[in-house]
């Protein structure tokens, strides 16, 4: 190989070694292999040579071009990797910083409980019925076999409103959601399976009573529905709601004007620890019974043809038991700390297949 080629090789290789960044490297590449690069100039000069010289020189030049091209590419890759490395170092941040805060929202425990009840009763073929909070005396009491003088009325501490303009009908804030049952029976032919969750009102305010609270009532009307079905339905609900497949459930005779036979429903718990399902004690959670013949007849249903059962439960009460919430009043105080503590994730709604 000619000396000039060897010198060029050594120069280029030495320059490449000295190139610290991609810019210097690119200058070498262009200065060597570019249009007016040194090697390109030599290659161009080849045409002017004598044929016998040209052949040997050509072979040498081609080899040099291959060598330098490879050397330049190799160096380029090294520099590129180094540049990337430097950039990654420079871009480093403190990943232990918290991300920009995003407020977390919550669903109120009452809405959550209604969702759970809807999911469970929904699986048993119930649908949800609703009605107005301001009811007529008839829907709230009379239709439910609770005439004006009935002692059960004084137990209810009813809130009264003036009659609606132009209508001479006594209006009350519903003391129970039973009026929705009445509306349902008037509006649709049996078979009926509905639950009626909603706001209810009684003039009572202390540590264990709130003038507004929520009830979820239920109504089943059909043919051949017996007290056995009532028990089966409510035991199933309570065991799923409290997620205790062996939850003890007790039925006690009682009285409500709108059912007969009537019963209260207790679940097993421990007075000492508050544990649901454990211990020796009983806790009342539900009222229920077979729909009273008069109530059916008040809604135009012949009790010889149709019978069924109804039940009612306090939503706050069941929620308090399920979640260990100590104070009823806190449900309505809208204390942000309480709401965040007991609220539930909006993206985890009550779905039976995910668990309620």
């Amino acid at each position: 190989m000619s000396d000039d080629l060897e010198i060029l090789r050594q120069e280029v290789l030495s320059e490449l070694t000295g190139a610290a960044d991609m810019r210097a490297w690119d200058a070498i590449r262009v200065g060597t292999l570019g249009k007016s690069g040194r090697l390109t100039a030599l290659l161009k000069a080849l045409g002017k040579m004598a044929p016998d010289e040209r052949k040997a020189r050509g072979v040498a030049l081609n080899r040099l071009r291959d060598d330098l091209t490879r050397a330049i590419e190799d160096r380029g890759q090294v520099l590129e990797a180094a540049a990337l490395e430097a950039r990654l170092v420079a871009e480093r941040v403190d990943v232990s910083l918290p991300p920009p805060p995003a407020a977390q929202g919550f669903i109120h425990p009452i809405a959550r409980a209604v969702e759970e009840m809807t999911a469970i009763f929904g699986a048993m073929g119930f649908s949800v019925a609703e009605g107005p909070d301001i009811e007529t005396d008839w829907h709230n009491f009379s239709a439910l076999n609770t005439p004006d003088h009935h002692p059960a009325r004084t137990d209810h501490d009813t809130f009264y409103l003036p009659p609606a303009p132009g209508l001479d009908v006594t209006r009350v804030l519903r003391t129970q959601t039973s009026g929705v049952q009445i509306r349902t029976m008037l509006a649709q032919k049996p078979p009926i399976r509905v639950i009626c969750p909603g706001r209810t009102y009684r003039a009572d305010h202390d540590a264990t009573h709130s003038p507004m609270f929520h009830q979820c009532e239920g109504l089943v009307v059909g043919q051949g529905i017996t007290l056995g079905h009532l028990k089966g339905c409510l035991i199933e609900f309570l065991r799923v709601f409290f997620d205790k497949p062996d939850l003890p459930v007790r039925f006690r005779s009682s009285y409500f004007p709108f059912t007969e036979p009537s019963m209260e429903v207790d679940i097993g718990w421990s007075r000492r620890t508050g544990e649901i399902g454990g211990g020796e004690d009983w806790l009342e959670v539900l009222g229920s019974g077979m729909v009273h013949a008069r109530v059916l007849a008040n809604c135009g249903l012949d009790p010889r043809e149709w019978q069924g059962f109804a039940f009612g439960m306090g939503i706050e009460r069941l929620t308090m038991l399920k979640n260990g919430i100590p104070d009823l009043r806190s449900f309505y105080e809208s204390d942000i700390r309480w709401l965040r503590h007991y609220g539930s994730d909006p993206l985890a709604p009550a779905l039976l297949h995910e668990g309620v």
């Binding site: 649908s127 301001i134 409103l161 028990k231 059916l296 008040n298 043809e305 449900f331 204390d335």
Partner: protein
């Protein structure tokens, strides 16, 4: 209703234990509310006597006593600090190992300042029985040492409190409870027979009855020569054990029968009556002072008892002060009447009295009992107070109370879900006092006992006004046929125990159940999730607020003001949940939690009815973060909340227009109304009015929104057409328009969108500018327009053409020019 075990044993012979009795009461519908066994806690305490008391050698205030506390503790040394400890005193002694409830300690034998002490001498307070603690309790001198103190003091009786449901007037008596327990198999009812007392003279007081609807039957008799005064120990103790105050023997006897037989009685002092005649009649607006010392005005609907001087008793509810028996009473007239339940209930409610007597009459007393009860009361009065009885006087007659009821045996299974053998059903009914009239293989007909007012009553219906007459008549006929039967099914079931009824699953309607919610209900549930997912926290506020607050939120009509609010600040149905949210914001902010977001999906009330509103507030400031300034919550966040909710509920944002006429509780210049078309208002949003915040005591910024859920049209469940996914790249072009400041940006955006419905697929606003280079009174609005070619790429000429159309459309509707 309270009673003691020993009182129960007066009527029930049983070997059942206390837990068995309580379990049975619960089973048969007499719910046990409490069991008080005061004796159990003080069982180890003994009566004792101090034999000798000497000064403690090492302590000035202590004495060393030798105590006799009966067998096992006949000579015990006890160190005692009580100043009244002295030789010969009868005392209460706690042996070692005794838990002392008043001190919450357990006594141990040991030494006190070097002297042995083998127990403790106690005060009543230490036993948890009284307040006085001036030294140790002093018992009567003749007290024998070594007795159980609980027995000695009569505290060994157990008090049971049960809840009596309104249908069971018959169980408002110890006798009735015993009868139910016996029927349920827990012992034998002791027979009760009143001993007749023959009258020896004509009563100087006679009855007249002019209000027989309220009082079908009234009896009475005079007993003269009685001596009233404190009751004997057994009677006093009985009444006090169930929470009654002993007053005098005569009054105590009436109270005794009220609880023992459920039979209210009243005694008049004959010498305080005038005219020789008691008249049962309607009130005439007189004022009457009752035994509670209060004055009541009686109306013509109230049944009263008068003499020549006026009203002497609010019949069946409370007697009068003027004619009541006292210690000076020598001649007494005993009233035993039957008052109508409804009449008593309405009168008692009107005057606001609930007495033991009215409570029983309202729930129905035994119409067959008055004669026997009057005899029994006479007997007891003569036994305890002496005297002699007149002949019985009465007005009216025993009403026709006899009723029968039939049971088809298969109904036990068909209604009650429990197969009960026919003979067992009959036998249980008989134990409750029903008498069989006739019986076949399939059914039985029984007479209802006089005390069961709740069974086989004539049905009273309140049928809906809109029910077809024939359906109503058929239903009513059904009730009259089966109601009494259901009464009997209930009786048999409660005695058998509902736990015997096998639980049966509801028959499935379909294997996979249908949806439980209507689309509108599901929408409310989704609204909660959507708003909570945006960082807002759900609240539940009372449906009633204060009248003044409601006024601030635009609506406090009198027709929605409660007639009997529980508190003056909870008297008005709320016009919007925003009322509660704003006060919740105030409370949280006052507690130091100002930067929050809250929402409620709940009812709003107006004279047009109730509607569902999803309302929310954002309060305070946005959080601080590196590179991010904290700022006041902005109305744009509230608008975004409302828009997002509406979008999720199926309303396209382009279908909405914004007007600036939000209600008065919003900042007039920083709030808006979202409408669909000119009329349908879907939402309000904006900053809350500064005056409102000031009135509510809030010193941080608040923005909010109200989405009127009921106004949002039902989502259309149309099948979506296949999307057109163009193969060509979209072109994005920016336009800056100069437009008069008052022209809403929304109009401009809409004009751009409408310029070419095919090509223009998106318009977004990126700049609003006022200042140099823009004329005074104008602003510049920058929008980015996305043009989506469908068939082929756009040529420059086509681009130019569509741009011109856009500029022309905007100019036409808004007067804007390209900047």
């Amino acid at each position: 209703m309270k009673f003691t075990l020993s009182w129960l044993y007066d009527h029930l012979e049983t070997s059942a234990t206390l837990p068995e009795i309580c379990a049975k009461l619960n089973q048969i519908g007499l719910e046990v509310e409490g069991v008080e066994n005061r004796g159990a806690a003080i069982e180890p305490f003994l009566t004792a006597r101090i034999l000798e008391a000497t000064q403690h050698p090492n302590a000035d205030r202590l004495q060393v006593c030798r105590v006799d506390a009966g067998p096992g503790f006949q000579d015990v040394q006890v160190v005692c600090g009580a100043p009244n400890a002295r030789a010969g005193l009868a005392v209460i002694f706690a042996p070692p190992g005794t838990y002392v409830p008043g001190l919450d300690i357990t006594i141990k034998a040991g030494k006190i300042r070097g002297e042995a002490s083998g127990g403790m001498l106690c005060s009543l307070r230490e036993l948890g029985l009284g307040e006085e603690s001036n030294g140790i309790a002093e018992l009567p001198d003749d007290t024998l040492p070594g007795q159980s103190y609980a027995d000695f003091a009569g505290l060994d009786d157990v008090v049971i409190e049960i809840a009596i449901t309104p249908n069971r007037g018959d169980a408002l008596s110890v006798c009735g409870i015993a009868r139910d327990l016996a029927a349920a198999g827990l012992g034998t009812l002791r027979p009760w027979l009143a001993e007749t007392v023959d009258g020896t003279f004509t009563s100087p007081i006679v009855w007249e009855n002019t209000y027989t609807e309220a009082c079908p039957w009234v009896l009475g008799r005079t007993i003269r020569g009685v001596k009233n005064g404190p009751s004997p120990e057994w009677l006093r103790r009985k009444l006090e054990s169930v929470g009654l105050r002993s007053i005098s023997t005569l009054v105590d006897i009436t109270n005794y029968f009220c609880f023992d037989l459920g039979r209210p009685l009243h005694v008049f002092d004959v010498n305080k009556l005038s005219g020789g005649r008691l008249i049962v009649c309607r009130g005439e607006g007189e004022t009457f002072r009752a035994l509670d010392g209060q004055d009541y005005i009686v109306t013509p609907d109230d049944c009263v008892i008068t003499d020549a001087n006026g009203v002497q008793s609010l019949a069946g509810i409370m007697g009068g002060e003027a004619s009541g028996a006292d210690d000076a009473t020598t001649d007494v007239f005993v009233e035993c009447a039957l008052f109508d339940a409804v009449s008593i209930a309405l009168s008692a409610r009107r005057v606001g009295i609930s007495s033991d007597s009215s409570y029983r009459f309202e729930r129905g007393v035994d119409p067959a009992l008055p004669v026997a009860a009057l005899e029994a009361a006479t007997r007891l009065i003569i036994d305890l107070c002496g005297g002699e009885a007149s002949e019985v006087v009465s007005a009216g007659a025993q009403p026709e109370w006899q009723r029968d009821a039939s049971l088809r045996f298969k109904r036990m299974q068909d209604l009650g879900g429990l197969d009960v053998p026919a003979q067992e059903s009959v036998s249980l009914l008989e134990k409750l006092g029903f008498e069989v009239r006739d019986q076949t293989d399939d059914a039985v007909r029984v007479n209802v006992p006089s005390w069961r007012n709740d069974i086989a009553q004539k049905p009273v219906l309140a049928q809906g006004a809109d029910i077809a007459p024939d359906a109503a008549a058929k239903a009513a006929e059904g009730v009259s046929q089966i109601e009494a039967e259901s009464d009997l099914v209930e009786e048999i079931l409660r005695l058998k125990g509902l736990d015997r009824v096998p639980a049966v699953p509801l028959p499935p309607i379909s294997v996979v159940p249908g949806t439980a919610l209507t689309p509108r209900q599901a929408r409310a549930a989704r609204a909660r999730r959507i708003l909570a997912a945006r960082g807002l926290v759900e609240t539940v506020g009372f449906s009633f607020v204060s009248h003044e607050e409601a006024l601030r939120f635009g609506g406090a009509p009198d027709s929605l003001r409660l007639l009997n609010p529980i508190a003056s600040d909870l008297d008005q149905m709320r016009p919007t949940p925003m009322v509660n949210l704003v006060s919740a914001a105030q409370r949280n902010s006052a507690r130091g939690w100002a930067d929050i977001g809250l929402f409620e999906v709940g009812p709003a009330f107006s004279e047009n009815g109730q509607q569902l509103v999803a309302a929310g507030v954002r309060v305070g400031h946005t959080p601080r973060y590196p590179g991010q300034e904290s700022g006041a919550v902005s109305l744009w966040a509230a608008k975004a909340d409302a828009l997002e909710l509406l979008t999720q509920l199926g309303i396209a944002p382009e279908a909405l227009n914004t007007t600036t006429d939000a209600p008065s509780w919003y900042h007039p210049g920083r709030s808006g109304v979202l409408r669909q078309g000119p009329k349908n208002i879907l939402a309000y949003f904006g900053e809350l009015h500064p005056s409102l915040l000031q009135a509510e005591g809030i010193d941080v910024p608040v923005v909010g929104f109200e989405v009127l859920m009921d106004a949002v049209p039902d989502p259309k469940r149309r099948k979506k057409s296949a999307p057109k996914l163009s193969a060509f790249q979209p072109v994005r072009r920016d336009f800056a328009f100069v437009v008069e400041r008052d022209v809403p940006a929304e109009n401009l955006l809409r004009a751009v969108r409408g310029a070419d419905r095919t090509l223009v697929t998106n318009v977004s606003l990126f700049d609003v500018y006022e200042g140099p280079h823009v004329p005074e009174g104008y602003r510049s609005i920058g929008v980015e327009v996305t043009l989506q070619p469908v068939e082929k790429s756009l040529t420059d000429a086509e681009l130019e053409a569509v741009s011109e159309r856009i500029v022309a459309a905007v100019a036409k509707t808004t007067g804007a020019t390209l900047r």
